[in-house]
Each structure stands twice: as C-alpha cells, then as structure tokens.
Symmetry: C2
Subunit: 571 residues, 2 copies
Amino acid sequence: MKMSKMLMPTLREVPNDAEITSHQLMLRAGMIKKMSSGVYNQLPMGLRVFKKIEAIIREELEKKGCQEILCAGLIPAELWKESGRWDVMGAEMMRLKDRNARDFCLGPTHEEVFTDIIRQEINSYKQLPLNLYQIQVKYRDERRPRFGVMRTKTFTMKDAYSFDVDEAGLDKSYQDMFEAYTSIFARCGLENSPVQADSGAIGGSTSAEFMVKSEVGEDEIVFCSGCDYAANIEKAESVNTVPAKEEMRELNPVHTPGVHTIEELETFFNVSADKFAKTLIYEADGKTVVVLVRGDREVNEVKVCNAIGEVIEFDLAREEIVNELTNAEVGFAGPIGIKADYIFIDKEVAEQSNIGVGGNKTDYHIQNANYGRDFEGVVGDFRNVQKGDKCTCCGADLEIARGVEVGHIFKLGTKYSETMGANFIDNDGKSKPIVMGCYGIGVERTAAAIIEQHHDENGIVWPLAIAPYQLVVVPVNIKKAEHMEAAQNIYSELQAMGVEVLLDDRDERAGVKFKDAELIGIPMRITVGKDITEGKVEFKLRDADEKELLTLEDIKSRVESEFVKNNVKLG
Amino acid sequence: MKMSKMLMPTLREVPNDAEITSHQLMLRAGMIKKMSSGVYNQLPMGLRVFKKIEAIIREELEKKGCQEILCAGLIPAELWKESGRWDVMGAEMMRLKDRNARDFCLGPTHEEVFTDIIRQEINSYKQLPLNLYQIQVKYRDERRPRFGVMRTKTFTMKDAYSFDVDEAGLDKSYQDMFEAYTSIFARCGLENSPVQADSGAIGGSTSAEFMVKSEVGEDEIVFCSGCDYAANIEKAESVNTVPAKEEMRELNPVHTPGVHTIEELETFFNVSADKFAKTLIYEADGKTVVVLVRGDREVNEVKVCNAIGEVIEFDLAREEIVNELTNAEVGFAGPIGIKADYIFIDKEVAEQSNIGVGGNKTDYHIQNANYGRDFEGVVGDFRNVQKGDKCTCCGADLEIARGVEVGHIFKLGTKYSETMGANFIDNDGKSKPIVMGCYGIGVERTAAAIIEQHHDENGIVWPLAIAPYQLVVVPVNIKKAEHMEAAQNIYSELQAMGVEVLLDDRDERAGVKFKDAELIGIPMRITVGKDITEGKVEFKLRDADEKELLTLEDIKSRVESEFVKNNVKLG
C-alpha cells in the first residue's frame, strides 16, 4: 500500500484522555478512533492488527477440530428467560424492543444461542463431541468504560462452546482449548499465565483465565513463588494464619468513644490489627449480609456472593440498614447478637481465640469474643489473599501482580443444557444432558496487551506475526528519481514475494517517515537514500538499534530470514 | 474437513415456512438457522459461503485502492441528529438507551459515522481522494422480514464511502465502484444488470442498483427491449401516451349511483379506462396529497414522495379525510375545486382533453374535464411504467421483470458533508465540502441470489469460486479398508494442494452421501468404490451428468483443470 493514499492519522502528542500506554499508542498510531464513551471505530492499521489476531485464533482452533459459525448479535429475550439469565444480567446487558415491542438483547455472550442451536440439531451421542466457535461483536454496557479497547461497550470476541457426552469428554475439550489458547497467545508474542478463576455469571465449576502480566491490568493475580499455583485474586486461597489457641476469657465491653476504624482500635487498645475482627454489612438484592474478616484482612466480595448463590446487586449497606441491624452508629458493628439474612465468618476469625469485635452499641467494643460461644455464622474463606500469605499447595510465599485477562475458559457442565433441555441419546439408550464448556478471547484487548508488552519510547514494536504491515520502504527524497524508482522496485518485488509492505511515498522529510514507521511499529524498514548510487540500501529492524547495509540482491534473502526466524509464513 | 465431525444438518423435506428456492435450499443444506423472525444464525456451510463472497468483495475493492475499516454498530444519536436523520428514519431503525439513558441506534447504514471520521481526519485536498469500506452487520427492523436471508432484521453489508474534492472526482470514484461491482458479481457467477434507481432515504442525485433478475425478486425492474435503458420501477420513466388534442367540451356532471371503481365507470359510460383520471388522496406526515393518474395507470408513490421532499409517513388517506376533502363518500374524488396541501397531476392527465373525473359529490362523476381550465396542480411524472410502454431513450417497448437488489451505488454529493461540516481546504485555499458517494452490497442476499440462479431439482450448484468446499471425496463403504484408505489419501493429497475438500467418512449409504453432496452443491465429487482395485475412482462435476473414470495419478491434474477453467486460485 502506498502511504500517500492511506488513512493513517498518526499523532505526535500523547492524547489527554488516554491513561495507559496501549491506549495512547493505539490512538497515536491511528489504529482506533473513539466515537462515544467505550465505543471505538477501527481504522485501517487497527483493523489489520485485529484481523491478524483473528487469523491466528482460527488456525489454532481449527487444528483442534473446531468449526466456525456466526450467530446473530440480536437475541430474542425468550432464550435468556429460558436459561434464567434475563433477570440475572443487570444493566450491563443492552436491551431493546423491536417494532412489535418484542424484547431483545444485544448478546453480551452466547451460551443460550449456542445451546439453542445444539438442542435442535444434536440428538445422538454419534454427533458428539462438537466444538463450535464464532468471532463476533459483543455488547456490554460497562459502568465505566476505560483504557481504550481494554474495557468497552462493544468489542470483538472469539467465543467457543464445546459439547460432550460426559465429564471425561469435557475434560478433553477443555484441555484442547487450554492448549489452543497457549499456542494462540504464544504466537501473538504474549508472555501469559493461565490462572484459576472465578466462574462469575457464566457459571460452571472449573475456569481458568489467561492473564498477561501488566502494571495496568485491571485484575490482581496471585501466584506462588514456590510452585506453579496461580489464581485470580477473586478466587485465590491462602493458608490460614492463626495464633495458638488460648483459653477463652470473659467478654469485656469497653467504652471506646470516637473509635471507629481498625487503626483507631490499634492505637486505643495498643495491640495489632489481627487481634480484632472487622464486621462489614452488605445488601445483596435486598437481603442483609454480615461478613467478618480479621482486622488486617480485606473482604473478598466475590467469595461472599458465591456463598449466597446468584446475586445481581451487591453493595455495602446503607447507613440506615447498619443502624437498624446494630442499634448503633456506623463503626460499631459486631457479630454478637446481630440478626441478618446471612452471616459469613472467615475461617481465621472462627479459629482465633479472644478476638476484639464491635459492640453493636455506639461507642462500645467488646474484647474476648469467641466463635461458637459468643457468635455463630457460616464459616468459610471470605478474605483476599495478601502478599506474603502462604500457598495452600506448597507453603511458599504468595506474590501478587496485576494482569490483563485476554482469555477465559470455563467448564460449564450441564448448567445450560439442563435448563434449556439440550439432551442427547447416549449409547445406552438413555437421554442425558449435553456436557458443555465455553471459551472466550477478547480480540482488541489481546492487541492492547501485546502493545503493553511490546513497545518502547518511540512507539509500538509489533511481533512480525501481528504487525499491520511487515515492512516499510522509505525513499529518503521522493523528488529524487533514483530514490523513488529503486523504492518502487523494491516495494513491487517484496509485494510479489508475499510480504505485506508499505511504500512511504509521502512528500515528507525522512525523519517524519522514520518516526511514523516506529510509532506504528512496522518490524522491518528499508531506506533508499544516497547509497543507492552504489546499489545499496539500509535495512533496519524495529527492535534493533543497528542498521545493516544491503545490496539490492540481498534484500529478498534478508527479509525471508526474518520470516523464518519468527516462524511466520510469507504471503 | 471430515464430515463425521461437522455440524451439517441437511434436510430431505422442504421446510414449510420457506417460500422461495434460495430460502428452502439454504435451510435444507444446513447453511442457516432461524433464531427469530428475520434473525438467522449462520452455520458452518453458510458462513463459508458468505466469507467467500466477502473475500471477493475485498479483493475487487482493494484493486481500486479502497481501504477497509470497521465502525462500531452502536451509534450515538447525536450523529444522526446532526445529519437530521434521527427523526427521518422510522421504525426501521432500532434504537436503544445505555445505562445512562443516552440514545443510541444500531447502524442501519453508516453515512454519518464515516462522515464523522473523515471530518476529523481530513483537512486538505492532498489527503483526497479516499475510499473507505467496511464489511459489517447492519440492523434494520423490517416491517415484514421474509424470504430467508433476502429480507432480515440483521445482515452483513459491505458499505463503502468515497470522498473527493469535486464532482469530477466523484464521477471517477463512482465509475470505479461501478466497475468493481461488475467484477464482484461476475466472479460470484451472477448475471446481473445495473439499473437506474431512486436514491430514497440515503439521498443524493444519481444512483444505480445491481439487480439479479429472479422471479422471486421483491423489486420490479423496467428494461428496454431496444436499448440498454434499465431502471427500478420506482424510478423508471416512459413516453407519455396521449390521444390527439380535441376541442374542449363543456363540463358535464352525470349521476352515477354506486359507480366507484374504474371498471364500473368503463361499464357505465361504455368507454375505456384511459378516458378517465383516477384521483387518489394520501396523507404525508399529516399533510393531504391529491394525485391524479389516468384510469389505466398506477400511482408511483416514490415519485410522489420525491416531489414533496422528505416524507416519513406516507399512506392512503383515512376515510374521514377523503370525506372532508371531497364532501362525498369514498369513490367520487375528483380534481375540480378540491383543496389539499399538495395536488400532483400526471403529465398524461394534464395533456389529455375532455377527461372523466370524480364529481366530489356522492354518486356523481363529471365528463369533459380539462387541465388548466377546470383544475390545476403540479404536473409531472407520477405513474408507474407498464409493460409495452415506450422507452424515453429509443422508443422501443419496455419490459418488466422482477429482480433482487444485491448492490446499490449512490452519488451523495455534499448532502452529509454540508450538514455535518466535513470540509477540506482546496488547492485554491478555500474551504469546501467533501464530495461523497456511498456503495453497498448485501452479502447474504448475494448468496441467496446466487442460489436462485444456480440450482437444480437436487439442490444448490455452487460456482467453484463460492462453494463452501470445492470437492468431496466419498468412500462408498467406510467399512471397506481399501475404500477408506484410498479416500483418506486422496483427501490428504488434495488438501495439501490447497483444495478445500470434504471427506464423507460418515457411516451412511453412498446414496445418502451423494444426495447430501448434491444438496449442499459441492462442485466436484470423487467417489472411491469398487474400481479402486484397479486404481481408479469416479470423478463427477455437480453441473454435469456424465461421470469420468480417473486413475489415481490423474486426479490432481483433473482437479487443477477445473480451477483453471473457472479462474479460481488454489489454496
């Protein structure tokens, strides 16, 4: 492509509203253009990158026998009502009515639609296993779209769904997808780690997220310094740290005027935070929820919601609710005598003797509370892992890093097939629900993660497999016939070889052209300048400092060697 | 692909709800699956066909220097309000609100979005011309979805937009797209005719539709038997047929009790329909519209709307409106003395002497009415062309055929750039509005049109360039090792050659496999049966009756020859 004919609006300045590197560079390289909050148009450079990622996804999935289909994005409400998710999905699901006032949604995910297709077409074990996928636009009305294409209202997703006769089949399908994902992200040049994850609204038993470690990631990942345990913070567990059992002492109410926070308690009583329990009060779909964790811990709200079951709205309780439950001002809630729809107690609190708690009376706390004797509730893991906690697998220290989720795989089991009646006749003649898995990759987000891992101060440094164009030919001065002619010839020859090549035939200074090529991240650059009189050109890799002087005859083999080195096919 | 692993739900029976051949065959060949009225999911066989069409579109557009982008389907209302179309688009545009109650629509077309991108990025004539396209899902809430993928609520459209400095540039861009479209439809195996068309809600001056003649087409096309004039019935014109002028006679009211229709008038007065004028009364956005055409003619409502300007709601007037305007029952409307917001008189009526009209009085008609003396109004072409009318270009007979619109190209001019402020600085230093064109192709509809033109009693007969798979290898009996082994080998070798090949390894009778292959329309079939003992297989083209016996050595060259013959690239 000749750059003079392209829509390629590069920017020198960093846009004000872009906080993270990938967002800044996508805007500066002219890849995307914002239309509305969380809604982007994809310009030529961006679209080419996204299509490269899609092509890699297709290749790796088809190696595993997956077949591509394409479902409509406009989904009748009936299907979501059948699965029960029409009401479960909150404001994130975009809903609309057609001219006949029928309800539809714009698919935020497609479990229902795939299950509906399958229940109509599959009736025998002979037709299974099957793995269907699509690469399609999803709609999610994010509360807070941000970070460019990382979190948007509309984005491209590859979603795959596997259909098996039993759990063993699902294990195989899940493993196949695990391998495919590993290959896909490796080919994208991403260092990534699969981590255990919470299944969230999708449901199901086992799930893993493919996380790209990145300081700008919205997720926290817990990983072990001693073994390969890794999990999303929402899911991660650690060994309980509990001091030795003491004999239970008597409850001791203490007047603590103005002492509300754990820090104030530490000062007032002159003991450390782990000697107290925090009592937090939430509202979950109108029900009251009391949660206790130790004073040095944070509540893990996902674990709490999972313990309740399906929860749509979950938030800290309003002041009047706290007042009502505790008969006190905010800041003095405690477990003793409290009544709520749910009471959850973190294991560490349950196991610790003589813990300090709120008094359920304004300006009072109580010392020496003991689970079982003084208060009751459902005991479990309701806390976040913290750095330095011990691994439940090997006992080594746990670390915490930030990550971007680029893929997510789920064992759904029979959640959808049972509610929607997707059954098959097994070889024993019995009707059974199909066992399902589902598997997603965010396309634009993967591109953003690649940029987070592959950039320098001058711009993007695309891996050859992902670059929008693989090579740019830069004539130093387009007004010099010898520059332009040679550049044109090189451009045509490389094109004929199957290289995706740009010719920077713009009437700009060489410096401007170099800057744009670096910003956009083209992996190879051939500069045609004064050396052309001796039949030589300059060859430079985007990720190398040195320039090489090549004869015209050597260009092809030099370029070819980069394709071999990067394991990328020509043409 | 091995057919035993595929989702390929073929049907022997013709589905009840499918009226036209392409719809029946798409369902029977397992290409598509209905999810809701006018909403289809695309199964593997369908998606592959649609992607073939998309690939051809991309190749031909890129030959013309067009660049692909991808706009979001979710469009903020602001852009449509700027262009003025938020109110103009009726119930066909699907609208929704986000969680913050901001208005969006699902793009039925993308003039506003492309104009918005361009006005932000283009400021100099040096950046023009430019032609951008996307292949994207469109949403149109059709009043009456029907004929499978021919008329749906959501479908894939290639829409391109050209941006030029002046009309001459637009002419060139329009011509380029005209040529690209001609190549695209030819490569799709479609006999098609570009016809003059009305520009409708898109606006602009010149427009042409690419029509595939088909008995099931929803459009009527007028074409000349003598020259290459062709136009959509909405736009088509014909020579006025007017009898010789007579001297004006005196108005003669006649008592015509119970005589309402043209047929009843013919009988009552014993003269032919062309001696009367029909007076039709419409409501257009609350205004009254009177239209006169001759008794043997039909009103062309598109021409009437164009004469008014922008019209959203247009329908025959309610009875009370007719009564009010005519002071009479329905059936006696006439032009004499009538008052309305608009009065349109077809040229034939205006030119004819002593015509019969309704009396604007119940049970009365009036003879010898003459335009100018007895009634007034805007004179123009407000009638449909009829078969046998004469061509305005050459005078030969006009014919009428039905057609399917697969593409539509428009000269928009500055309609959008002026309302939305998409200007550039020309080389004379002056700011001017960008001159635009827009160009659409319906992808699924093109596939349906191909089927309408390429099928027989056994199923689809895909052109090699469009077929979901190009060849199927059928082992007659999968339990015979020599059949399966040879079939596997042929399958692998053809795959390695780059042929898109199916292996029908299903445990079915050969007859079932042949029927499926014919139904799906695979262009080439290789059958491995008893002749394999002599190293021979049967080769059959889908569109030929005879079978050829080939040695194993000859297979590759025989297959290759079909690619050459059909001008389709391998791999």
